[in-house]
């Protein structure tokens, strides 16, 4: 974003607007997709990710300029025939697996022989060659989604749209199919757009991540850049930063910014944005270290704290601390047991000066999205 439209872009959108019942649900000033890249549209439910994907795939109406491989879209059907779409549900037709994979290719003018050969190749690639004669409606969810992916890749699209294709699968199928898809995307260098609300999925598949909130791309960049330096508090919350504190800059030196948070001093290496004296301080829960005594560690910021709440949230335990300001830490179950963490227990919380991130308190205008 922020660069001029280049002929090389597989998809380029300008001033793209999607309305539903007259209301604007997605507004994207500019978005480009470079050949071979996987762009992940990440965001909470209802953010407009799927709507944006369907608009880019020409499956719902949109306003604005949309170019596919440099050409403005004149004939939607013809342009769709250069794309492929995999949705959350496999949506196979009530035919055999082979016929399902063949149909789209035939609609695009492939000969039956070519289509069948390609279908067998891709069914094999997704590990389901043995299912080609089965009726699609007899497949399991995981098998059906593999067929749906094989069907899409067999079309050899210029751009592949994946709308939460792994979301409805059980954990083991999900991991296996995710790994296969990542492998195929890497091998074929297929340009792809993937919608997900799963940060791990975004990190493992995306070359770039665009965070959508309320129908706007709030930030776009390499996954590690987006996750470590979210552009605004809502993005921060979505990428997992749970502690967002209003701070007061008391001193800025070459190496360190000193902040006052609720009467306590916090030192960070990040520089206040635009010289803002009242920025927001963001601390990721994985950056917080919790111990029972003050002896160990080299972290610059150390605070006595009380445990306010302990919550099991899947693989980690979320611990809410009161250090004079609220602070959230994620600990493993083992650490929680070892440290005897429970509500009311006194602990020491610490984090390095390099971990927190500073944001302006007011979110700048819509066009915050920057190419990182």
């Amino acid at each position: 974003m922020g660069t001029a439209t280049t002929a090389a872009a597989v998809i380029s959108a300008r001033e793209l607007v999607v309305r539903r019942g007259g209301r604007v649900v997605v507004r994207v000033p500019e978005l480009e997709l470079a050949p071979g890249e996987t762009l992940v549209l990440l965001g909470p439910n209802g953010a407009g990710k799927s709507t944006l994907l369907l608009a880019l795939a020409l499956l719902i109406p949109s306003e604005g300029e949309l170019r596919v491989e440099g050409e403005p879209v004149r004939d939607k059907v013809a342009t769709r025939r250069r794309m492929a779409v995999v949705l959350q549900r496999p949506l196979l037709l009530d035919r055999s697996v082979l016929e399902n994979v063949v149909l789209g290719q035939m609609l695009r003018g492939a000969s039956h022989k070519t289509a069948e050969d390609r279908a067998h190749t891709w069914l094999g690639r997704f590990g389901i060659a043995q299912l080609s004669r089965r009726q699609a409606r007899t497949l399991s969810g995981g098998e059906a989604q593999r067929v749906s992916l094989a069907r899409a890749f067999a079309l050899e699209p210029s751009v592949l749209f994946l709308d939460e294709p792994f979301a409805a699968l059980d954990a083991p199928s999900r991991e296996a199919i995710l790994a296969d898809t990542a492998g195929v995307l890497a091998d074929t260098r297929t340009t792809a757009v993937l919608v997900t609300h799963d940060r791990d999925e975004a990190a493992s598949l995306g070359d770039r991540v665009a965070v959508l909130i309320d129908g706007e791309v709030r930030q776009i960049g390499a996954p590690e850049a987006v996750f470590s330096a979210p552009a605004d508090p809502q993005v921060a919350l979505f990428v997992g930063v749970e502690t967002i504190l209003p701070a007061h800059v008391t001193e800025v030196s070459d190496e360190m910014t000193r902040l006052d948070v609720g009467g306590l001093t916090i030192e960070v290496t990040d520089v206040p944005p635009q010289g803002d004296r009242f920025p927001l301080l963001l601390i990721a829960p994985t950056d917080v270290v919790v111990s029972r005594d003050d002896a160990s560690g080299s972290a610059r910021n150390r605070f006595s704290a009380n445990v306010v709440r302990v919550e099991n949230i899947g693989r980690v335990v979320r611990v809410v601390l009161d250090c004079g300001f609220p602070l959230v830490a994620h600990l493993t179950r083992a650490s929680v047991r070892e440290l005897g963490i429970a509500k009311g227990v006194a602990v020491v919380a610490s984090f390095k000066a390099t971990s927190p991130h500073l944001l302006p308190r007011r979110r700048p205008g819509v066009s915050t999205s920057t190419r990182v």
Binding site: L54, A57, L59, V77, R80, R81, M83, A84, V85, L87, R89, L91, L93, D94, L103, G104, L107, R108, R133, R134, Q135, T138, R151, L155, F161
Partner: protein, 232 residues
Amino acid sequence: MDLIAQGLVEAVHRLATLDPEVLDAASASLQVSGIAVLLSLAVGMPAGIALALGAFPGRRLVLALVNTGLGLPPVVVGLVVGVLVWRSGPLGSLDLFCTRGAMILAQFVIALPEVVGLTVVAVQALDPLLRLQIAALGASRAQSLSILASEARLPLLTAAMAGFGAVVSEIGASLLVGCNIKGDTRILTTAIVTEADRGEFGAAFALAAILLALIFAVNLTVTWVQQRPRPL
């Protein structure tokens, strides 16, 4: 009871000897109802798909009319079609009154709401996202419709069956517009009434047996197609 027994004996006799009157009525029934149903499928299926998928003002009103049409009394249809094809009526110049053509027209009107209504239900039962997926595969509008119809093929067969059932057992409309001419517009149902009126219960039973056998044969075929086991 004697009457029934006599009638059944005569029915068997007439069937065994291929009574021409019975055969004429049976073939007229098949022809009139068969053509009427095929026409109603040709018009009703695309209309039903369009109604199921389309968004246009008055769509609900049309759907309500179609549903009302499901209970349309055949005799009322016969009356209206009769007035239309009557020699001085708007379609009088076509000279259809008292012909199989007029009966086909009336039965078409009776079958059409059945086919449209059941097609709407069949298509609306499909996953709404399927349309999107089919478009994404690269289908044109016409290709999409034909793929969707093929997806809904089982319930669409039910629509065909219901349409046939509605017209083959209908009597009021055919009597009014076809005039029940022996050897021409006399079909199984009108022949049954005629024979029963004359006290010819044997003939009436024979015709009734054929009518039931015809309905059964058509439904058996369609059910067989619909329910045949699919290879795993």
